[in-house]
Symmetry: C2
Amino acid sequence: MEKKKKAIILSSGGLDSTTAMAVAKNNGFQLYSLSFDYGQRHLLELKASERVAEAMDVVEHLVIKIDMKAIGGSALTDRFDVPKNSSLNKEEQQIPITYVPARNTIFLSFALAWAEVLEVEDIFIGVNAIDYSGYPDCRLEYIRAFEKMANLATKAGVEKKFEIKIQIPLINMTKADIIRLGIRLGVDYGLTHSCYDPSLDGKACGECDSCCLRKKGFEEAGLKDPVLCVR
Amino acid sequence: MEKKKKAIILSSGGLDSTTAMAVAKNNGFQLYSLSFDYGQRHLLELKASERVAEAMDVVEHLVIKIDMKAIGGSALTDRFDVPKNSSLNKEEQQIPITYVPARNTIFLSFALAWAEVLEVEDIFIGVNAIDYSGYPDCRLEYIRAFEKMANLATKAGVEKKFEIKIQIPLINMTKADIIRLGIRLGVDYGLTHSCYDPSLDGKACGECDSCCLRKKGFEEAGLKDPVLCVR
């Protein structure tokens, strides 16, 4: 029997990365999930990523601690207030203050390092450019530029043994599409966590950008979100 | 008087990054130095980077702790032996085991995050592609690919307010050229540390790849290295 190919999946424990992981699993990859303890204001994300890793039967779930607080500049790592019920997807929208500077670049760089060590070609990331938060590092052209750089950065690329591929199965999907796909692949969204500003007992606020996108997605898909909100 | 432009300099406390910093200073930049506590086997590098930061009168010296050990795969973070008196610069040379997977990509990604927060356009890195260790992430084409990606990754690039430039003043210089340049710019190389495998009391081994390159450089420049070796 042919040995299964390995893939690394960036996992935040949220809806998108969990669906991306389900796609990788469905494509027959052995899963290696990677999460970051980066000084985000709450650690519920990390607990969700552990639950997801277990449910998806990953070979290894690695959590890397990095100090993004030292750099600052985001509502997710600093003490700014997370904005509520802001108008997403407006034409003139600014990049929101929940944007963490260069976050996906840092996360993908660690994934790249791990890929070199494990000799993995495929790195999955759940970015999408439709129902998204307006972050620059979620766009296709950014991902393709990262991929090009990655193949010049590494032993892998130089020795031409293999080629790093940044897999972005959700890039052109709406949130509703993503949810429908996940449900079809058997994802239990009750394990995931998306809220930027949960209550002390871990309930989603229902009002931050991430909750609003998620709510809209479940509504459009005609499904009920198994994750409860505070209100 | 016009306000000085800021620059971020990746500093390892070694010969190359210290010379790159001296170039930035000489070009009139306000200096922000960035070092990493990444589980390297000794912390002498970090002490050297602090001494250099002080001598160069930087505005801020930031040390970010990251867990590269979790990823492994290098003699500099794992328990492999550091190779001694290996033949550098051979045609068929393999990438040495002191190579840390995706290290420059990870370091530059953090520099990019800090650049976004500080609104800095210029990031200096002391890579050079002549007397170097054969690491893939020290080549010009890699640096240019990173730069392109960086300008797609960030707020800065999207809002077109400014453009990230990865400054590589040493890229085409021999080690001897670098040392001559540094001396002309007033660098005290006695503050720097290059050895991969120092003795317990902090003396350079004189035999690892990094020591060999440094020794060759000082010899070719006809100068005496102020840093003493064990033998």
